[in-house]
């Protein structure tokens, strides 16, 4: 079958072309005629809100799903990808959003998992694998770990680099990166991008999926936008503006949050004095005012989350004291902190936030069961109206309250997680990476919601690795590095550059 050479948007012939792909699942059309062109030596950003069909397309390109209609064309020839092996054989590899790795095994074993080098008698050729891995790491310029390092000793960022190396071991011509920067600090992102650019210059076609516009603009040459499973548009990134892209993704204008708050009062709600931890942080002192959003910014590993754990009573600080609402605050457990009105929404939504197998309603009422039910017997009617109140307040998108959280999209899961804490009537709410990995629309909604919270008299601590988010939401920003507070900045008077300088140690 000869391919119909559609007029490519200028320049060279694409390596990989997706033509009118349709993918149906029982009862739902996940992709409705999407198209995409990837060229050698080009980074193409795939944009779309959660549920736009990005992940489905990745799964089709990596042979996990087969398309219902349409074709994938590689080097001008139609391609059928029946399995992950097929995709690898054609040089298409993907680095997934949540890195799935074997933490007890070495870097080399992870890289060669599924295609072990074998020698005589089909036995595993260990030396060969170590040598190959060493070559791959050198090619990527990685020196801080070696082929025999166990994965569990690596940071999240380093794990991503292993994934990149793994892709290279398959002689990748097309590399798909699904949210590679979501859990990385700015410095790590920069390091990753050096490697991505190196691969691009070697001629690899890269499909880059991200929610972070800074990253998209920093790395991509072109873009494609999907919405609700359909193709919306594409073009060159240098000709596009952020607002236009957001409009294309959302189909409406999303207001980027701007801080126009006047709710901050002089009253101190939480006072932390010289809080020290055995290993993670030292000499932390700050005060949180009523109606204030206090941002905590720092690179991954700067001790932000560990500090929040201590404030929430998950770990015990070594020394120092906290005063909450005028009295000494020494939470022995999360239970303690919650009953006194301080709650913590953890970073890892899937592992620490939602109980995926339970319904939306049960998740929302769980922390507040005592106050809803009073006595021994649960009160389903009260529970249901309670859950409905918070689910609708946060505009959770779901089939019904009885739907299991596991079936929701990431953004909606996060709404449920935040919703469940509101029900406890907190005075201080600590949000750890509240918008990590969720789409623009859901993100704006969460931001707007955080603003509403402080206007209603709550105080919020927000821990985020996303600079625009911290800067846009916070009244003041605490910058941490290596377990120490480096600066407390007024959000209106500081800049991204200044914050980064403190966080990285340039200042």
């Amino acid at each position: 079958m000869n391919s119909v050479n559609s007029a490519a948007s200028g320049g060279s012939q694409p390596i990989l072309e997706v033509r009118n792909i349709v993918k149906d699942f029982p009862g739902v059309r996940a992709l409705d005629g999407v198209q995409l062109r990837l060229k050698s030596g080009e980074v193409c950003a795939l944009l779309g809100e959660n549920g736009a069909g990005k992940s489905t397309l990745v799964k089709i390109l990596t042979g996990v799903y087969q398309p219902t209609e349409g074709e994938i064309v590689m080097d001008g020839r139609p391609l059928s990808l029946e399995s992950a092996q097929d995709a690898w054989d054609h040089g298409i590899t993907a680095i997934h959003q949540e890195t799935i790795m074997f933490s007890e095994l070495s870097v080399a074993e992870n890289i060669f998992m599924g295609h072990h080098l074998t020698g005589k008698f089909s036995l595993v050729n260990w030396q060969g694998m170590y040598d190959e891995t060493d070559k791959l790491l050198k090619r990527l310029g990685i020196t801080d770990f070696d082929p025999q390092t166990p994965i569990k000793e690596l940071s999240v960022a380093q794990k991503h680099l292993v994934e990149v190396a793994k892709a290279l071991s398959h002689d990748a011509r097309v590399l798909i990166m699904d949210e590679p920067t979501a859990s990385l600090s700015q410095k790590e992102v920069d390091e990753l991008f050096v490697i991505v650019r190196r691969l691009r210059d070697e001629g690899t076609a890269i499909l880059f999926i991200s929610h972070r516009f800074d990253d998209i603009f920093a790395i991509s040459d072109s873009f494609v936008v999907f919405r609700d499973g359909a193709f919306v548009g594409d073009g060159l990134l240098k000709e596009a503006k952020e607002e236009d892209l957001i409009k294309m993704m959302a189909g409406r204008e999303v207001k980027t949050s701007a801080n126009t708050r006047t709710s901050v009062s002089d009253e101190v709600v939480l006072q932390v004095d010289d809080l020290c931890h055995a290993t993670e942080f030292e000499h932390i002192s700050f005060s949180l005012h009523r109606g204030e959003i206090l941002g905590f910014y720092g690179l991954v590993g700067s001790g932000r989350s560990e500090l929040m754990h201590a404030i929430f009573g998950l770990t015990a600080p070594l020394s120092g004291q906290m005063i909450f609402e005028g009295s000494v605050f020494t939470p022995k457990s999360p239970e303690d902190a919650i009953t006194q009105g301080l709650v913590y929404v953890p970073e890892d939504r899937q592992h620490c936030g939602a109980i995926l197998d339970m319904s939306i309603g049960d998740n929302i009422t769980l922390p507040s069961l005592q106050s809803i039910t009073g006595g021994l017997k649960l009160n389903w009617k009260k529970e249901s109206s309670f859950a409905r109140k918070y689910a609708s307040k946060l505009k959770v998108k779901a089939h019904s309250l009885a739907q299991k959280v596991v079936e929701l999209s990431g953004g909606n899961q996060q709404k449920v997680v935040i919703g469940k804490w509101l029900g406890t009537g907190p005075k201080v709410i600590i949000l750890d990476e509240p918008t990590k990995g969720i789409d623009v629309g859901a993100k704006a909604m969460v931001h707007q919601f955080i603003n509403e919270l402080v206007e209603s008299g709550l105080s919020v601590i927000i821990v985020s690795s996303e600079l625009p988010e911290v800067l846009g939401l916070s009244d003041r920003i605490v910058v941490m590095r290596e377990g120490l507070m480096r600066a407390t900045l007024n959000a209106k008077e500081t800049s991204q550059e200044e914050i980064v300088a403190f966080a990285t140690g340039l200042k």
């Binding site: 919650i338 109980i355 939306i360």
Partner: protein, 326 residues
């Protein structure tokens, strides 16, 4: 016809249907199986399994497994038998209390290791199971306590009848109902589902997991103690090997009843119906002239079928924004 349709979508509904169809099919071949006496004896025979399936359900729901339930039955049963033999004048209620108390202590021993020290339940219960069985041997000196050595009041209780139903069946049904109510309508039950679904998230919510698990293993031990007396009195014999491999039947009941072995999903009703299904099977095979040894293979097949069905998830589609109802 909306109701039956929804019923059949649930594991509980499917089990009821399968059990009834199987029961009637066997009954057509041998009509005596359909008699009230036969039904009565199935319930009476299965009561202990139903009780322990409820307990095991709580344990499995919270991502654990308790392999000591059968050894607990043997040990607390032996304790009650020895008291009844050596002190025949002891009131029955005290004898029963002794069994329950023994079970409670054994359960708390498991609970300390599993819930407080955080040692995996399979390891703890595997070790404790051997210890408890060994203690039965030590207590009895390897001797049997048989029906002649037990006072009549001791052995007659389980099969004595209230309104024509055996005490054993009555106790079994009461405990099943209590278990259903507890898991469905109390905060404790809801919290156990949360722990099984995601222990990390549950601890962030401020629920003390250690306390809840401690209660789960202690309650299981307590019910084991009660069943210890019931078992020994019902069969009028106590020796080291009673209820051998019975713990596996309790696990099987849960799995057949749709309790997810990974924790967080399933219902007490499912576990009880799973036990009932196994009970019907056990009673039907002799009627059909099939060797009891086949029973293992048949119930094994039932477990595998149940696991295969469990693994096929269902997803709902079509999302909408939830609104406050007017």
């Amino acid at each position: 016809m909306v109701l039956p349709k929804n019923l059949l979508k649930s594991r509980e509904g499917q089990l009821v249907l399968i059990t009834i169809v199987f029961y009637v099919a066997v009954g057509i071949a041998s009509p005596s199986f359909l008699s009230f006496e036969s039904m009565d004896s199935i319930i009476t025979d299965t009561a202990i399994l139903m009780i322990m399936a409820c307990a095991q359900m709580m344990v499995i729901l919270t991502r654990g497994i308790d392999l000591t339930v059968a050894a607990n039955i043997a040990l607390s049963g032996m304790v009650s038998a020895l008291i009844a033999m050596h002190l025949p004048g002891t009131p029955l209620i005290l004898v029963m209390s002794a069994a329950v108390l023994t079970g409670l202590v054994l359960g708390m021993f498991n609970a300390v290791l599993i819930a407080l020290l955080g040692i995996p339940s399979i390891v703890v219960s595997l070790g404790a199971m051997a210890i408890y069985r060994g203690m039965v041997f030590v207590l009895s000196g390897g001797q049997w306590v048989n029906s002649q050595e037990m006072p009549a009041s001791f052995t007659s209780f389980p099969l004595a009848r209230v309104f024509g139903i055996s005490n054993l069946a009555v106790i079994g049904l009461i405990i099943c109902v209590l278990a259903v109510l507890m898991m469905r309508y109390t905060r404790f039950g809801r919290e156990l589902y949360a722990i099984g679904g995601n222990p990390d998230a549950t601890s962030y919510v401020g629920i003390n997991i250690k306390k809840r698990l401690f209660a789960v293993y202690t309650i299981t031990g307590l019910l084991g103690g009660l069943c210890g007396y019931l078992w020994v009195a019902r069969y009028a014999i106590a020796y080291t090997e009673i209820a051998l491999n019975f713990e596996l039947l309790t696990v099987a009941s849960c799995v057949i009843g749709g309790v997810g072995i990974a924790g967080g999903t399933g219902t007490v009703l499912g576990a009880v119906l799973g036990a009932l299904f196994l009970g019907v099977l056990q009673n039907a095979l002799p009627v059909m002239g099939i060797s009891p040894f086949w029973q293992m293979a048949v119930s094994g097949t039932a477990i595998l079928v149940a696991v295969i069905v469990n693994s096929r998830g269902k997803r709902q589609k079509g999302l909408q924004i939830l609104r406050v109802s007017q």
